[in-house]
Symmetry: C2
Subunit: 190 residues, 2 copies
Amino acid sequence: MARTRLTAEREAELYAAVLDLLREVGYDGLTMDAVAARTHSSKATLYRQWGSKPELVARALRNNKPVSPGQIDTGSLRGDFHAMAARNDYCQMEKDSALMRGLFHTVHENPDLRQALRELLIEPEMEGLGELLRRAVDRGEIAADNPALYYVTHMLVGAIVARQLIEDRPVDQDFLVSYLDAVVLPALGV
Amino acid sequence: MARTRLTAEREAELYAAVLDLLREVGYDGLTMDAVAARTHSSKATLYRQWGSKPELVARALRNNKPVSPGQIDTGSLRGDFHAMAARNDYCQMEKDSALMRGLFHTVHENPDLRQALRELLIEPEMEGLGELLRRAVDRGEIAADNPALYYVTHMLVGAIVARQLIEDRPVDQDFLVSYLDAVVLPALGV
């Protein structure tokens, strides 16, 4: 059966409604019925388009990340990192830190959501970051055998979680740029 | 009123029972009645000794960390870091990763618990880590103005969270030593 494409605008509208519902009722309380009602669409359309609730939620969260790190290419690693920090998803994440903390727990209890987030959100981001780092290795900015290459995601996750959890402060562009310059670039020998 | 000291053994027994209950019923389900019943003590004793449920839980969690990083003093930063990684709290944390993930969410919803954990667990650990780092600065191993000094906790939290969340693998001593050598020491210029 042919899958009718939604317009990008309509899709963004649907994703925004899903994130609103997530904030209001949480993942467990979010139903396809509620999404259908809120967006004036039919449940059949939602299932045809997204297959399942975990996939719909993962795609709605991914829609906050308009640019993959792999698409960033300023010619230097520092430039790429700073452009990454300037992507508006991190500002979104700041507004959504309560949402993210709630999801952290939900993900633990919902293997289907965990798998959808891993496939649709985390893996594409990590692949994009991998591309960005490979280009830096090819340019000779990072030694190919630098052991910190494997841990770039760990360093970034740490910045985001510790900032919110320990410092109770928002993850904004200034913080990310400062952390990238103080920690990630020196660890990579740049 | 004089506060009767419990023996260290009895205290450890009580803390172990609190952690067992946390795993079984979660923070919200854990009552002082249940702790009293499980440990054959009176509720009056529990309140006299710990004041409140958040304080009891924070002290039980802290009891997993027998050595403060400030007490570690091998003579070199690398040695101190490796000794830190060998403390058995991280192995405990591995066994307790489900517990920790549950708490992450609970902490968000319970300001009293958040404050108790901050005062009794996080701040003493961070102060200890600060002492350990200050000694390295005094020895001339780290430049006093190295901007990564401010981010050591962020780097460590990242290692622990990303290892469990993204890699779905345990935080063990080998992982921590490898991360400290690949990331934290180079970022500090060591």
